[in-house]
């Protein structure tokens, strides 16, 4: 098994203008996702929603700037750290991850030699 970080990139304005019902549906979607990952034979190691990008700070080559890295409409809105057999398994899991206003990014987690 290996560890993968699933990064959720979405258009933040989707949530800013979402109704309470849409919020509720979103929460339920993530609850369902957690269940489906178990069924797929993967493991969610950790997962968090992130504060909007207005709260973000970037550091590029020691220069600290306000805002997120990506200059796109989508912003990093949350993540799951999952354990999966291989990239295909991780991508299978990632396809289940709700991101109605954008998409997700899958990053292999670096295996630190000190382990």
């Amino acid at each position: 098994m290996a560890e993968y970080l699933i990064l959720i990139w979405e258009d933040e304005s989707g949530y800013a203008t979402a109704s309470p019902e849409e919020w509720q549906a979103g929460m339920e979607g993530h609850g369902r996702f957690a269940q489906q990952v178990e069924e797929k034979g993967g493991t969610i190691i950790s997962g968090r929603a992130l504060q909007p990008t207005s709260t973000a700070t970037s550091v590029r080559a020691d220069v600290v700037t306000d805002g997120p890295f990506a200059e796109t409409k989508e912003a990093l809105g949350g993540f799951y750290l999952v354990e999966a057999r291989d990239l295909d398994h991780a991508l299978d899991i990632a396809k289940l991850c709700p991101a109605p206003f954008g998409g997700v990014e899958v990053r292999p987690v670096m295996d630190m030699p000190s382990r």
Partner: protein, 455 residues
């Protein structure tokens, strides 16, 4: 197919008694260098794919296979060419991989390959391959790994040429007109991603197969089109890329005989390539389909392609390669451009645009529409494409538009479209063609310049 039988023992290197392994009266024995070159072209994928499984590391596998080919030149010169060169090479390469593992190089393995435990029982690293080992055909694993959708298309193409076809980085760089360091970096990055992201060395499960196969077929098709119309430079066709693409399509057809789209792709490549000799005149000028000497088309390729199309269209809704092949088959069978079954071609394009939503298909459909129903109908369809903007910068859009305007005698508009097309292509042969047409419509209108008039 070579390589599936018992392996000749390359340790025969040191054993003159192994002479009986040599195909004594094969003419290739007289020329071991030619036999090695031939085995490089035909068997590289088989040997590397089978060695990767034992080496467990892509770079180590490549290195061992290279060494095996070098050793073959020497051994085959002294002992004759073995009956089964692929098996000989595989056993030699695997032995080197096992030796490398014994010497502890595994610890420093840079690009570990994720080998599925579900694969057939396999001699684990460290065990001698037996002479009667049946070497599994892992070429599909190799192809699907190279064309994994997590790799960028250009990386898929480069890896396929490098690992499946055995081309050098320098050869691949030349084929794609990029510098060798650029191509080397591209190949290294792709190999690292396979290793770091753990892209498994396997053939995808049935559920993912259609999508994954489509990626493989797209890469092979892209290789073909890159060779067929070189993006720059003064040769219209790069024969080697074209032949590699057809070779890959044939290989896939052998390995996946029941996949209709594989059959469709092979048919499409054969039918398009049947026209290769007639695509330019003696001076290198590009000839359009309507100008080509149909008697010079390769009948054997057409017959083979047409037979494959029939199979590819049967048994359910045909895929995009089968439909494109069917269109190519109609062109190949037509006695002339005008006498082509345009209404049928238009119907096939309608089918194609349902299974493959692509502005390029829409443009080709517009050309077929112009042939079936007249240039105005085609021009209207092209106008819609211009407005939706997906083809902005695509050189064949202004070129097709210019041609229809020329046919309608709208010379000033045609000239403007030819000029636009000229700014978008760097292929010298295509540029010459467009410049010739531009000169033609820019000449002061003579008596013959009326609507539909052809000078």
């Amino acid at each position: 197919m070579a390589g599936t039988g018992a392996a000749a023992d390359p340790a025969a290197d040191d054993d003159p008694a192994a002479d009986d392994l040599a195909a004594g009266d094969d003419p290739a024995v007289d020329d071991p260098a030619a036999a090695v070159a031939d085995a490089h072209r035909r068997e590289w994928a088989f040997v590397l794919a089978a060695t990767a499984r034992v080496a467990g590391d892509i770079d180590l596998a490549e290195e061992c296979v290279q060494d095996a080919y070098v050793a073959a030149l020497d051994a085959w010169s002294r002992q004759g060419v073995p009956r089964n060169p692929a098996a000989w090479l595989t056993t030699a390469a695997r032995r080197r991989a096992i030796d490398a593992h014994r010497r502890g190089r595994t610890l420093r393995s840079k690009l570990p390959l994720l080998i599925e435990p579900d694969s057939q029982p396999e001699a684990p690293a460290g065990e001698e391959p037996q002479e009667d080992d049946v070497i599994p055909d892992d070429r599909l694993r190799l192809v699907f790994t190279c064309c994994h959708p997590a790799l960028a298309r250009e990386a898929q193409v480069a890896l396929t040429l490098r690992l499946v076809c055995g081309l050098t980085t320098s050869e691949i760089a030349q084929a794609f007109l990029v510098s060798e360091p650029t191509m080397a970096a591209r190949v290294t990055r792709a190999k690292k991603k396979i290793s770091a992201a753990r892209i498994a060395y396997r053939v995808p499960a049935a559920a993912e197969l259609p999508d994954r196969l489509d990626a493989v077929l797209t890469v092979v098709h892209l290789l073909y089109t890159t060779g067929h119309t070189a993006p720059g430079g003064d040769n219209l066709v790069r024969d080697d890329l074209v032949e590699r693409a057809i070779g890959l399509a044939r290989m896939l057809q052998t390995l996946m005989p029941d996949e209709r789209e594989v059959r469709g792709l092979l048919a499409l490549l054969l039918l398009t390539d049947a026209r290769r000799a007639t695509r330019a005149d003696a001076g290198g000028r590009l000839l359009l389909l309507e100008e080509q000497d149909r008697s010079q088309w390769d009948r054997r390729a057409i017959d083979e392609g047409t037979a494959l199309v029939t199979g590819a269209l049967r048994g359910g809704r045909p895929g995009r390669f089968a439909l494109q092949a069917a269109i190519a088959a109609l062109h190949a069978e037509a006695p002339s451009y005008g006498d082509t079954d345009w209404p049928q071609i238009l119907r096939l394009y309608d089918g194609l645009s349902q299974v493959w939503i692509s502005p390029v298909v829409a443009l080709n459909r517009a050309v077929a529409l112009a042939m079936a129903q007249g240039p105005e109908a085609g021009l209207a369809a092209i106008g819609n494409l211009e407005r939706d903007g997906h083809l902005t910068g695509y050189r064949y859009l202004p070129a097709a538009k210019a041609d229809l305007l020329r046919q309608l005698g709208r010379r000033a508009e045609a000239a403007q479209a030819y000029r636009e097309a000229l700014t978008l292509t760097s292929n010298e042969t295509e540029r010459d063609f467009l410049a010739g047409r531009l000169a033609e419509v820019s000449r002061p209108a003579g008596n013959s310049g009326g609507p539909g008039g052809t000078p």
